[in-house]
């Protein structure tokens, strides 16, 4: 039973942009593994590296940041800032011996359901190959 529950992915989505896309993926019945869990924050550039590290510590295999991209309601700097969060975290991951590729980021616009599902499938595949 339990091996089915791997790999576990934590997705950070954003309230106004990427979460609606994830919602729509459900609406359109585009399936992705149920081992993908979402936590929604106001803006992807406000995600703390320690949260991501916490997720890895607690057993998540991968963390995915569904970033706002240029659609961010808080301004254009979002993309750069989110990238910096990823960079900082990946550095921390390396220090802890975690593979940086276990953290992924992609801009998901508010109707990018298909790209999201593709990302989830690909990431799951990658992580399961990686993990076992």
């Amino acid at each position: 039973m339990k091996q089915q529950e791997r790999p576990k992915i934590l997705v950070f989505s954003t309230e106004k942009i990427s979460d609606p896309a994830i919602d729509m993926a459900g609406l359109l019945k585009l399936h992705y593994p149920p081992t993908v869990y979402t936590i929604t924050v106001p803006c992807s550039s406000g995600i703390k590296p320690r949260w991501i590290m916490h997720a890895f510590e607690k057993g998540f295999d991968g963390v995915f940041i569904a970033a706002d991209g240029t659609d961010c309601p808080y301004g254009e700097s979002c993309t750069d800032k989110t990238a910096r969060v990823v960079q900082m975290t990946q550095q921390m991951m390396q220090e802890k011996g975690l593979e940086p590729a276990r953290l992924k980021m992609a801009a998901i616009c508010s109707v990018c359901s298909e790209p999201f599902v593709r990302q989830m499938k690909a990431f799951t595949e990658y992580l399961s190959r990686d993990g076992n």
């Binding site: 609606p20 459900g26 979402t38 936590i39 406000g46 995600i47 607690k58 998540f60 969060v85």
Partner: protein
């Protein structure tokens, strides 16, 4: 303190329960710590369920509520208001999305979906257990607005705000109102001239008790934030008192020994240091040009109203919002650009508008009658489209010039009879209803030539007049030659060259250097500086209608923000732990909204969030090396507890 939490799991008809074993989820959750009540409901959003939830909250004295149903985008506000009605803080409510991100997304895997749902609801419970009751912060707001720039946009914004009941301070840098519109004669789609519109608006402004107009005034200092700005305004003296005897004034103008270029006529004419713009200028009072005046005192001798002893004033204003309507500057061609400044009979479009106004029976330029006119379009606009070597920086289209030039040609025909007119353009952009003007002009016999994106017309001299050579795109690239009596360069719009107010307000500029809105469609008149709005052509090229529309939009935004005299701020704000903070300045850099400032705390400098400016985006969180900032509703504790719950094995 442990919370008493109530959990409701929605079947959503069969939408959720078809895939997720709702009963099982409920059972598992009911055993969670802190959960005093776990129910499953057919439709949580139905009226009957809402009533049931309210009763439960009251009866059980719940202080945390979790509803696992559809996406919060649909019903977060519904259930927050349920919580509120039951006396529960709405921020102690968490919605768990087990439909869009549960049953629907995983309808192919019932077991997996059920397990995911359990974890998600647990995470919701964990979050609610740690959530804080948040209250909207209310700050008082002054129901007054400073409108900076008294052109049509500024005056319209001011009037509308005043009519809606907001106090307005209208601040104009020049001694006369009306901005660019006052300089235009006949206008498209109306029988009114620019001057008449300005006159009408000025009279309304003067007659409106809610508007105070300052001319010759500039904002020199800005402090505070939305709802409570403090402005310091410097008012330059006019040196001419009211009332002023017109004959005496004329004498004063006559005796004035100083002559300077008249900006009102774009340098076509000269004026004295004591001057007026035009017969019916607004306000109807002459002024002395401070910079040009030599203080010789001649005028004072012949005109009783002149008072060179007037002193500059400074006043302070307290306003809740600021609307910038500072307008544009016409593009000034480089010396020699299409013969400008080198060949006598070459003028800009703006100068030509003035020529049309100033001449009566015949169209005269420097004493010679003009019977043929050539226009060269896109001077200072759409630069470098195809030409890498081009030095120009104005990549944008100035939007109004095609129509304005064509309209000026038609006006010239109307006023001075049959003329020969050449429009050497780059693709006419008379969008919308303005197209009819283009058609009228063709029908009237205006000739349109089009030059290539990468091959500009060449202008050389023939006596005092220009000779234009152009490869005509419309005639299979044939090279044509035209020798008009007058060449008009259709110059576009530029951002104000002198723009200290923009710097003062810290308004961001776009790539085109005009003021930039937050979002062209969602927040078209708002800037990232809360409470500072932009309207009119300071935001980008616009015609009069478009400027007025944006001005009125800005007025309505300003009005509804301030009308209650207080502002309710979303409680999702950043909070700084002052103990931890060491003021490294990282967060101020990260904040796009200028919402963090240093304050003194226990003898050290620490960051402090200006609540009125904070938008709750969280951009400052990850950059803090001390982890001293948290976002209300998204604290480390809350997020990490959710992660724990999601990661937990079943």
């Amino acid at each position: 303190m442990r919370k008493k939490i109530g959990v409701y799991i929605c079947h959503c008809g069969v939408n959720i329960s078809d895939t997720i074993d709702v009963e099982h989820v409920r059972e598992v959750i009911s055993r969670e710590e802190g959960v005093v009540l776990a129910k499953d409901v057919m439709f949580a959003c139905a009226d009957s369920s809402q009533k049931e939830i309210i009763e439960d909250i009251r009866r059980e004295g719940l202080d945390g509520l979790v509803i696992a149903s559809c996406s919060p985008k649909l019903h977060l506000f519904t259930f927050r208001s349920v919580a509120e009605r039951a006396g529960l803080n709405p921020y102690n409510y968490v919605q768990v999305n087990i439909r869009e991100q549960g049953s629907w997304a995983h309808s192919d895997n019932k077991e997996g979906a059920t397990r995911k749902a359990i974890r998600m609801v647990r995470a919701g419970v964990a979050r609610v257990a740690r959530s804080e009751a948040l209250e909207k912060t209310r700050i008082s707001a002054v129901n007054a607005v400073a409108v900076i720039g008294a052109g049509v946009a500024g005056m319209r914004a001011a009037l509308e705000l005043a009519n809606m009941g907001t106090r307005v301070f209208l601040i104009e840098r020049e001694h006369f109102v009306g901005g660019r519109t006052a300089q235009w004669g006949d206008l498209f789609t109306t029988e009114e001239t620019g001057k008449q519109i300005v006159g009408r608006l000025y009279e309304s402004v003067r007659g409106n008790e809610n508007v105070t107009l300052f001319t010759g005034a500039e904002v020199v200092k800005k402090e505070g934030n939305i709802g409570d700005f403090h402005l310091e305004v410097r008012i330059r003296p006019r040196y001419v008192r009211q009332p002023c005897d017109p004959e005496e004034l004329q004498k004063a103008i006559d005796v004035c020994p100083v002559e300077v270029e008249d900006e009102f006529n774009f340098g076509l004419t000269r004026r004295k240091a004591i001057y007026r713009n035009y017969e019916s200028e607004y306000p109807r009072a002459a002024a002395i040009d401070e910079k040009a005046c030599t203080r010789c005192g001649e005028c004072e001798k012949v005109c009783a109203a002149v008072d060179l002893g007037q002193k500059e004033e400074k006043i302070s204003l307290n306003v809740g919002a600021i609307i910038l309507t500072t307008g544009f500057d016409p593009y000034e061609p480089q010396p020699g650009e299409f013969g400008y400044g080198e060949i006598e009979r070459v003028v800009t479009l703006q100068q030509f508008h003035r020529l049309l106004e100033m001449n009566r029976e015949k169209l005269l330029f420097r004493g010679k009658e003009v019977r043929s006119i050539a226009y060269i379009y896109c001077v200072g606009s759409r630069e470098c489209a195809a030409n890498e070597k081009c030095k120009g920086t104005h990549k944008y289209c100035s939007r109004y010039c095609c129509t304005s030039a064509i309209h000026s040609a038609l006006t010239a025909r109307k006023k001075f009879g049959d003329l020969t007119v050449y429009h050497i353009n780059r693709g006419i952009r008379t969008y919308g209803k303005q197209e009819v003007l283009y058609e009228q002009s063709c029908q009237a016999g205006d000739l349109y030539l089009q030059f290539y994106e990468d091959s500009f017309p060449e202008v050389s001299r023939n006596g005092s007049g220009p000779v234009i050579r152009v490869r005509d795109f419309l005639t299979a690239g044939r090279e044509l030659e035209i020798t008009p009596d007058l060449l008009v360069l259709v110059t576009g719009m530029e951002p104000r060259r002198e723009d200290h107010i923009g710097d003062l307000m810290k308004v961001p500029r776009g790539r085109d250097h005009f003021y930039n809105e937050i979002h062209m469609k969602l927040k078209p008149v708002e800037t990232v500086i809360d409470g500072v709005l932009i309207a009119g052509s300071c935001q980008g090229p616009k015609n009069i209608t478009e400027s007025v529309k944006s001005a009125l939009s800005a007025a309505s935004k300003a009005h509804y923000t301030l009308r209650k005299g207080e502002l309710a701020l979303e409680p999702v704000l950043a909070e700084v732990d002052r103990e931890k903070c060491v003021w490294c300045d990282e967060c101020t850099d990260a904040c796009p909204f200028d919402a963090i400032q240093p304050v003194e705390y226990k003898g050290k400098k620490v960051a402090s969030v200006i609540q009125a400016n904070c938008k709750g985006c969280g951009m400052c969180l990850p950059v803090c090396p001390q982890n001293a900032i948290e976002l209300a509703g998204y604290t480390d504790e809350e997020i990490e507890s959710m992660i724990d719950a999601l990661a937990e094995d079943l």
